[in-house]
């Protein structure tokens, strides 16, 4: 399991023969990894391959059952995240973990604030150091602002500033780009390159293959908890990498079927929510997949939430199959045949501690009823039916959904809504944080649904996904619809131009 370029400097951090089990689940089996200074190393694998467990082992959250963690060649044992941090290892997690009530400055320096006499915190120095970090990152976040209400992109910036603040030698980035826009990704990569040039070792995780090829030098691939390969990216193709990750050839990632659109299923007219989005009008026809693109914070998710009735709108109207929807009433939206698969599956899409069966059953609480009582048998067969149709990978249908990988959780959310037999399906970031294999399955599913006559509105920050799947692309910019681009004219350039406000609508 050595890698071919052993001639360089010694690894700053290494894992040797690491195994880790949770109960009966073997999350990691005999995995080895070496991180060198001045190198960005990609960690690739499908969801559930063991990437998260590996990161948590490096971060001192998990202790391996067997195997060693080597820091500068010497074995170390991390008793907690504090130990790993003191060793110069910084982790930027997929879901930023900030303190919402505290200021950005406090978030960055929590536990290691500059001190004055008698161990008192030097608030002034904390503020100034934070301002300096923000300047270095080229962002204008106020250090005294509370973290509550920050966009995911900004939260991510705070996390990166935190890592920079303790001059981390090893930076582990767990899908840092999943919620970032193009320009934010470019900014992040600028920072990563600088860190690399200064001799930091970076472990980079992303499901966007093009990013791996853009920023990384070497890649380690995991599959089902086992080490598959560690090799330079030079000379590799995306197909090579995918083959190592999934262990088979990947069918087409964007299996879009050509469909002739039918009558209008969803009609949104002059929808406005004050301060959030303004004068948004569009139609989605049966059989159509309409992509809704735009930068994070452009108001896409907010429009979807208002259409579904989670948030109230201030003006405008929404019709499904010609039926006007009531403002702020998800139950009438559901009754009219609307389904919304939300952006944040853990917080909004699933009840994490409930079983797969019950989660899928949630949308059927009014239909799977016998004599006024829940019909458990009907609920189970309905759930099983959909779990099988969507090929959810699980041990038992009664297992809680938090035991599933991200991709399978997303399938459960989809199953939950498809079980309602929707006429209009709104999916918000349907493949964020999902591995390539599952991504292709989700795409095929959406395409099949459209072919069956469902109107699909797909919000996505993943441009290739929008371009590959959508019949039409709607682009939002600062709360307004900036452009409507037919499939034939949609390119990365046209969409991004509209999203950044460079092109007139």
């Amino acid at each position: 399991m050595t890698h071919p370029s052993d001639t360089g400097p010694a690894p700053v951090l290494a894992l040797k023969g690491i195994s880790k089990s949770f109960g009966a689940v073997r999350a990691l089996r005999d995995v080895s990894l070496e991180l060198f200074p001045g190198e960005v190393h990609a960690l690739a694998g499908e969801n559930g391959a063991g990437k998260s467990t590996l990161i948590k082992t490096l971060a001192g959250v998990h202790r391996p059952d067997t195997g060693q963690v080597l820091l500068d060649g010497a074995p170390v044992v991390f008793h907690g995240p504090g130990d790993a941090r003191d060793a110069g290892i910084a982790v930027i997690y997929q879901e930023p973990t900030l303190f919402p009530d505290l200021s950005i400055a406090e978030n960055i320096f929590m536990g290691r604030q500059p001190r004055k006499a008698l161990g008192r915190i030097d608030h002034r120095a904390t503020h100034d150091a934070t301002a300096a970090l923000m300047q270095r990152l080229g962002v204008d976040l106020d250090p005294d602002r509370p973290a509550r209400g920050l966009s995911i992109a900004d939260q991510q910036i705070v996390e990166i500033a935190k890592a920079l603040s303790f001059d981390a030698r090893v930076l582990i980035m767990d899908e840092p780009t999943a919620a970032l826009t193009g320009s934010e990704v470019a900014r992040l990569f600028g920072v990563v390159r600088t860190l690399r040039e200064q001799g930091a070792a970076v472990l980079f995780i992303s499901h966007r293959l093009e990013e791996i090829f853009e920023i990384c030098q070497r890649v380690t691939t995991l599959r089902d908890g086992a080490w598959i390969s560690s090799e330079p990216l030079d000379g590799m193709t995306e197909d090579d990498l995918v083959r190592r990750m999934v262990g088979r050839d990947l069918e087409e990632l964007y299996p879009k079927q050509d469909v002739t659109p039918g009558e209008v299923a969803l009609s949104v007219r002059r929808l406005t929510r004050e301060g959030v989005f303004t004068d948004v009008s569009f139609d989605v026809r049966r059989g159509e997949i309409v992509g809704l693109a735009g930068l994070v914070g452009a108001g896409r998710t907010e429009v979807a939430r208002a259409v579904f009735g989670v948030d109230r709108w201030d003006a405008g109207e929404v019709e499904v199959d010609g039926r006007r929807l009531t403002n702020g009433a998800p139950s009438t939206a559901m009754a009219a045949g609307l389904a919304l698969v939300p952006e944040d599956r853990r917080a909004q899409g699933l009840v994490m501690d409930m079983s797969i069966e019950r989660n899928i059953g949630l949308t059927g609480l009014r239909t799977t009823v016998k004599a006024g009582l829940m019909d458990r048998g009907a609920e189970r067969s309905r759930s099983l039916d959909w779990a099988v149709k969507l090929q959810v990978k699980y041990a038992r249908i009664a297992d809680t959904v938090n035991t599933l990988s991200g991709g399978n959780q997303q399938k459960v959310v989809l199953a939950k809504w498809l079980a309602t037999g929707p006429k209009v399906l709104i999916v918000d970031e349907p493949t964020r944080g999902i591995d390539v294999g599952t991504k292709a399955e989700v795409h095929r599913l959406l395409s099949q649904l459209a072919a069956d006559g469902v109107a699909v509105l797909m919000i996505s920050s993943d441009l290739p996904e929008i371009l590959g799947m959508a019949d039409r692309v709607l682009v939002m910019h600062e709360g307004r619809l900036a452009a409507e681009i037919p499939r034939t004219d949609a390119t990365e350039e046209t969409v991004m131009a509209a999203a950044t406000g460079r092109a007139a609508a």
Binding site: L102, M110, Q135, G138, D140, R145
Partner: protein, 346 residues
């Protein structure tokens, strides 16, 4: 390490700073609002009864608030960590009785106070250990210890009673004396309050209490010793409940097995009215102290205005619900304001 500062660096500084100021103002306003309500209430009462703000009147107001302020200060620390301590009333009662028994036998008042504080620390440690190690919700654990401590108290005290006549004269004088209108006891409470507020703002471990209440998972990942901090918060809360017990004895001179019964709910009300958010991470001990002052003043205001004191509880309840409603509305407004700023500058 220098990262080339990209083009957009200096854009839109002013509006963001504006958002921050708005948020700042709102949170400062929260304490200010209680103060205003308090002052208006006092002014109205004074207008209706000019005797109200006599020297003795002011002294009574402060004396009544003192003990609640102390216990609320301790409780705030626990609530900030997203926990609660329901056993403070029982701890106060048993500490007061222990100090009384010791003084009755001719003990030294300073030692008596130390004894009460130590007893409080003991019960605080017990609560802290159960909550931090047992991973059981604090509400349930401290409900249990509340009954246990009260039970021990009842068995030990039985039908005995300590009265002012059993206590050294100096101790009782200390309890009711003061510098003109300011009682000694209030000065002690004020000193504890200021020291605690200073600690929370200026010391790392103090800020960590806010951090772990705000997001426990993030606190763990940031390497904050979560259990140790929770243990410390409970111990401090217990210590203040013990101290409050000793001061209760000095103030009233009268302790039996029912002393402090039901007090925990008054304390929690004061803390919440004072703007310490029950879900942790936010609020100040000054707010809690103002909440305590407001709630205890209602007790004095109603009789002064000739209103029956049966209204006290109902009014306390209304204040509590009003406070929570205000917090909720303010939180929504602030979130919306921040979101709008974000939307415009994303």
């Amino acid at each position: 390490m220098t990262v080339a500062a990209p083009e957009e660096a200096p854009v839109a500084e002013a509006p963001k700073a504006g958002a921050t100021r708005l948020v700042d103002r709102v949170f400062k306003m929260r304490e200010l609002a209680i103060l205003v309500v308090f002052l208006v209430m006092i002014a109205v009462t004074q207008a209706g009864n000019s005797e109200f703000l006599s020297e003795q009147g002011i002294k009574d107001l402060l004396l009544n608030a003192t003990i609640l302020v102390l216990v609320a200060t301790g409780q705030s620390l626990v609530v900030i960590t997203r926990n609660v301590d329901l056993s403070v009333g029982s701890t106060l009662g048993i500490s007061a009785f222990a100090a009384g028994v010791y003084l009755q036998d001719g003990g030294n008042p300073v030692v008596a106070i130390a004894l009460a504080v130590l007893l409080g620390i003991g019960f605080g440690l017990l609560n802290g250990l159960l909550v931090s190690l047992g991973q059981v919700p604090a509400l349930v654990v401290t409900l249990g210890t509340m009954y246990i401590i009260r039970g021990i108290d009842s068995i030990w005290v039985g039908s005995r009673q300590i009265t002012a006549a059993d206590l050294p004269g100096g101790f009782v004088d200390f309890g009711s004396g003061g510098i003109s209108a300011v009682p000694y006891l209030a000065l002690i409470a004020l000193a504890v309050l200021v020291a605690t507020a200073y600690y929370l703002k200026h010391f790392g471990s103090g800020r960590e209490l806010y951090a772990l209440g705000s997001n426990p998972e993030a606190a763990r990942l940031a390497g904050i010793p979560v259990r140790k901090r929770i243990l410390a918060a409970y111990t401090f809360c217990g210590a203040l409940a013990g101290l409050a017990g000793a001061l209760y004895l000095a103030r009233f001179g009268n302790v039996d097995s029912g002393t402090g019964n039901g007090y925990e709910l008054t304390v929690v009300s004061a803390v919440v009215v004072g703007g310490v958010i029950f879900t942790g991470g936010s609020g100040s001990v000054y707010g809690a102290a103002l909440g305590a002052l407001l709630l205890t003043s209602v007790n004095s205001v109603l009789p002064a205005l000739g209103v029956s004191s049966v209204w006290v509880l109902a009014i306390n309840g209304i204040l509590l619900i009003l406070a929570i409603a205000v917090d909720r509305i303010v939180a929504l407004r602030v979130a919306l304001a921040l979101k709008k700023r974000n939307a415009r500058h994303a």
